[in-house]
């Protein structure tokens, strides 16, 4: 209607606009009410919901890593400690442009490829609001440089953290192992909450086995942060509980001395206190420094370690598997006694042994033969023919049964991870694993610890300790005691007896031990030279293990081939005979004969432990070249 009126009508025009103004005002009022309704909904109806959200927004939990338990040796010396170190850390969520930020950082602080590689792994593996380490072990200069430029780099911070350090370096590595950064593999098996704020986890050795004891409990700080993650103030704090300290049975001095006695030989020395099962020394040679592993060793150095012919990364004492050779003879003798062979029964050692109806000769190490031997003489002089005969008479089933009872072919239960069980062969085993029947000749050579039989140096030391204990087997323990964080009292763990070897009569041990005493103290003992001048009586047995072939997968340089084929030298012993305090097993790889190489090492170890460190060798007077 209105649209058709074309005459100038001032009143109408005014009315039209005023009508529109009124309509607009009503709409404005309606929209104001809509806004108020919205605000009412947010601020009154949903207030508690948003209130909670705002609380969560500004309050965050910053985990505080616990101090890892320290490790002490038998004499209370710190062998694994925590040193303060500066680390460059960041919360990824608070870094808007990571690549740019890393560029900026790299201009202030040297970042290696490994740092970056590790950081990128860490970046992926955990949620973005958790703190990560970019680099640790910053120098004071780097810290200062960062502090000056910090305002330009959001989300990064430098914190003082504790870093694991092993003051004795390589010496204890095969006992302690080391901690390292938590890897993606670790993440799959650990409780991530327990490791909040912690970058490290025990990877090997004591550090790995006693991870739960050493770790402690994370604490946290409830802090108010701004949207950039900067802490504005601390609201509350739950302190972390430091991990428990661990006291070892191992004596660093003895450990060091034993490795020194081992000298250039690759091999192992294990010393056990028979009465408790406490491991006094667990030496594997060669060694490597665990400290670079804490923050991740660089690829090149690691490659060098892996490719080293001496295979330093291998813990021979725990994981090395060797034929026991003649060191098995005392146990063989006991097996004979157990299965009703008389100790006085004699065998003529003519230098070789043949099975009935076979022309194959099993040779004795002494070509001309030992002559008539009873059990005692056979042990003292290590007559192979006697033990070929004994083994053949007993049969493999009984031998297997008895060696297993004595703790061979199964894990000793030491407080370390991934212990191998060794091997005591049986026809069942051979059928199952090799798919072949058992040959009688294999029983014969099993009598002198050759063939399939494999023991670890630790098992060998345990066998020795069990002999010294007359059948009581205590679980080998590296850890002697544990101390709660902050507590003054040390909680001694005490011996853990696994079993008493089932045997008809414990007197039978004396027959064997007497013979072992004569091995070192007797006129015809194979290790009589090592017994000379001893201030205590000890018992021992030599052994020589043939190296049949090159170890699987290993390649040797040509000039080393000859040495690599030399026999392994073994020796087991315990002392003093009357009240054994120490049982030792020594394996010197390619050391030749046990009496010549291994026995002196064992003697020195026992001397060191029972008597004390040898007097320092007299130094030759220095030549005075300048003297006219």
């Amino acid at each position: 209607m209105m649209a058709r009126i074309r005459i100038k009508d001032y009143v109408r025009e005014t009315n039209l606009i005023q009508a529109r103004l009124v309509i607009s005002s009503i709409i404005v009022a309606a929209l104001c009410i809509a806004l108020l309704a919205r605000l009412y909904y947010l601020q009154i109806e949903q207030h508690s919901h948003y209130s909670t959200l705002s609380q969560e927004n500004r309050i965050s939990f910053v985990p505080i890593p616990p101090a890892r338990g320290q490790i002490y040796d038998r004499k209370g010396r710190v062998i694994a400690e925590n040193l303060p170190t500066y680390t460059l850390e960041l919360v990824p969520d608070n870094v808007p442009d990571m690549d740019k930020a890393l560029d900026q950082i790299a201009r202030l602080i040297e970042l290696s490829d490994i740092d970056l590689q590790r950081f990128h792994t860490a970046l992926r593996s955990r949620p973005g609001f958790e703190i990560r380490t970019l680099k640790s072990g910053l120098t004071d200069e780097e810290v200062a440089r960062f502090a000056v430029n910090q305002h330009q780099i959001n989300g990064f911070q430098i914190n003082a953290r504790l870093r694991r350090h092993y003051p004795f370096g390589p010496e204890m590595v095969h006992v302690l192992g080391y901690v390292g950064r938590i890897s993606e593999v670790d993440l799959e098996r650990i409780d991530r909450n327990a490791y909040r704020g912690t970058d490290y986890i025990g990877k090997l050795g004591i550090e790995a086995h006693y991870e739960r004891t050493l770790l402690g409990q994370s604490g946290y700080e409830q802090v108010e942060t701004n949207a950039h993650g900067r802490v504005v103030r601390t609201l509350s704090r739950v302190s972390p509980v430091a991990g428990k300290d661990i006291y070892l049975n191992v004596d660093v001095d003895l450990q060091q001395a034993a490795r020194e006695y081992l000298g250039e030989f690759e091999g192992a020395v294990v010393a056990i206190e028979p009465g408790s099962g406490g491991v006094l020394a667990l030496v594997s040679n060669p060694v490597y420094d665990p400290n670079p592993f804490v923050n991740g060793i660089d690829t090149k150095s690691y490659k060098l370690l892996r490719q080293d012919d001496g295979r330093p990364l291998l813990n021979r004492a725990l994981n090395g598997r060797y034929a026991p050779g003649s060191t098995v003879k005392p146990v063989m003798a006991l097996a004979g006694l157990e299965f009703h062979r008389s100790p006085y029964e004699r065998v003529f050692g003519k230098g070789w042994f043949s099975l009935r109806g076979s022309r194959h000769r099993y040779r004795c190490w002494k070509k001309q033969g030992h002559g008539w031997m009873d059990m005692h003489d056979a042990i003292v002089q290590s007559c192979d023919v006697y033990f070929y005969t004994l083994a053949n008479n007993l049969g493999i089933e009984k031998l297997h049964d008895f060696l297993i009872r004595f703790g061979m072919g199964k894990k000793t239960g030491i407080d370390l991870d991934d212990e191998p069980s060794g091997l005591v062969p049986s026809p069942e085993w051979k059928r199952a694993v090799r798919g072949q029947p058992w040959w009688p000749g294999e029983t014969v050579i099993a009598g002198i610890g050759q063939g399939y039989t494999l023991v670890t140096p630790l098992q060998l030391a345990m066998v020795t300790a069990t002999l010294a204990n007359k059948g009581i087997r205590n679980k080998p323990r590296l850890v002697r005691a544990v101390r709660e964080s902050g507590a003054t009292k040390i909680l001694e763990l005490g011996p853990q007896t696994i079993e008493q070897v089932a045997i008809r009569n414990r007197k039978m041990y004396e027959i064997v031990i007497d013979a072992m005493v004569d091995v070192v103290h007797g006129k015809r003992g194979t290790a009589r030279r090592s017994g000379l001048g001893a201030e205590y009586r000890f018992a021992g047995k030599t052994g020589t293990a043939q190296v049949i072939g090159i170890k699987q997968g290993a390649t040797y340089r040509e000039e080393n081939v000859a040495k690599r084929f030399r026999d392994h030298a073994l020796f087991i012993s315990f002392a003093p005979v009357e009240d054994p305090k120490i049982a030792v097993a020594v394996i010197a790889e390619n050391g030749g004969g046990g009496s010549r190489t291994a026995a002196p090492i064992a003697r020195q170890v026992m001397d060191y432990y029972l008597i004390g460190p040898p007097p320092p060798p007299e130094k030759e007077p220095e030549k005075d070249d300048d003297a006219a």
Binding site: I5, S24, R38, L39, L42, Q43, L53, N57
Partner: protein, 360 residues
């Protein structure tokens, strides 16, 4: 002389503007982290704003009507210049550097467009004819497109709104309005393709800000949390955790209402909205009682635009509307919009106070 000049001010409006400006300083002190520098700067801007208001109020509506085409033309030229030689500010070309301060030509258009529309529409008796409507539509669309190209969606919307509101007040037929709405609906998909990615994501996240809480939804979520956690009475001045801990982005400028309602709660929000409503209602009253068509149109359009600012800003802060860069009039920190707003309010006062001087 001075008394005469002062008489051109409208006391109720001036009083409510002073209260709003005072509130602005109070909230800025909190949102700016007790930065006195910020307060001084804003104080000076408010002062300049009032001076401009005072000066504009002296001009008669007839003068304004005469000037309308010139103001519009200058604005158009400057807008084109911005596109050609504009310097980059905040990732968008919006500013002309005039040495002492940077000038945003789009701001002129907030006044220039409604003035020009009113000028065109009053040359012929209302109601509108198609020809005038087409010219008015061009006047609105031209500057709007130029500002969108800058790109500054928020200002473009405000300019378009000012023009469209003037056309609406001029009595555009309801059928036209319906057709316009349908056309807008049809143009929607087309405009969608013209929007920048960040603008699209802002609109998308309006519907579900929680779908991208650390990205496009962050502004809205933090702002809603601030408002909602304020509750009835607020957390108290300087005590809003969302603002003090820097969770609210742009907390001194576009999102200052979030800070305000977090610290002063629903009661404070009601007070501020009532203040704004009063300003708008007073403006509508002035327009209603104006003595000529140009004054009614420009007065109504400016009042409604003022409200449009308020509604869009608070709607954005409370999560009703997408995030567009629209400041809260007189309260948000910043100078350019202050000048235009005060000039607009000055025009309202001019309309009201020059009334009696006209022969009835």
């Amino acid at each position: 002389m001075l008394r005469n000049a002062i008489s051109h001010l409208d006391p109720p409006l001036v009083l409510s503007l002073i209260v709003l400006s005072g509130l602005s300083l109070v909230v800025l002190y909190s949102s700016g982290g007790e930065n006195m520098d910020l307060i001084y700067k804003q104080g000076i801007r408010i002062l300049i704003g009032f001076i401009i208001l005072f000066l504009v109020a002296q001009l008669s509506p007839q003068t304004l009507q005469r000037w309308a085409p010139y103001i519009f033309s200058i604005g158009l030229i400057l807008l084109s210049m911005v596109l050609l030689v504009g310097i980059v500010g905040k990732g968008a070309q919006r500013w002309l550097d005039l040495g002492l301060f940077r000038f945003q030509p789009a701001e002129i258009m907030k006044l220039g467009v409604p003035m020009m529309v009113a000028w065109v529409l009053t040359r012929h008796p209302l109601p509108l004819r198609v020809r005038e409507l087409a010219i008015a539509a061009l006047i609105v669309c031209g500057p709007t497109v130029l500002v969108i190209l800058q790109p500054d969606l928020g200002t473009a919307i405000l300019i378009a709104a000012a023009g469209v509101l003037a056309i609406f007040l001029a009595g555009i037929g309801w059928r036209w309005l319906l057709a316009f709405t349908v056309a807008l609906g049809a143009a929607g998909p087309l405009m969608w393709t013209m929007l920048h990615d960040y603008q699209r994501s802002r609109i998308l996240t309006l519907f579900d800000p929680w779908s991208d809480p650390l990205g496009a939804g962050y502004h809205t979520i933090q702002s809603i949390i601030a408002v909602g956690s304020g509750g009835a009475n607020g957390k108290g001045w300087m005590n809003g955790s969302q603002s003090q801990l820097e969770f609210i982005p742009e907390r001194s400028t576009d999102f200052i209402f979030a800070v305000y309602s977090e610290e002063f709660g629903f009661i404070g929000a009601v007070l501020m909205i009532c203040l704004y409503f009063f300003v708008v209602a007073r403006g509508m009253y002035i327009a209603f009682n104006a003595q000529d068509t140009f004054s009614r149109l420009i007065g109504g359009a400016l009042s409604l635009t003022f409200f449009f600012y308020v509604f869009v800003n608070i709607g954005m802060v409370s999560g009703l509307l997408p995030v567009v860069g629209v400041p809260l009039p007189l309260v948000s920190y910043g100078g350019t919009s202050m000048v235009t707003l005060m000039a607009g309010l000055g025009m309202l006062m001019s309309i009201h106070t020059h009334r009696k001087l006209m022969p009835q």
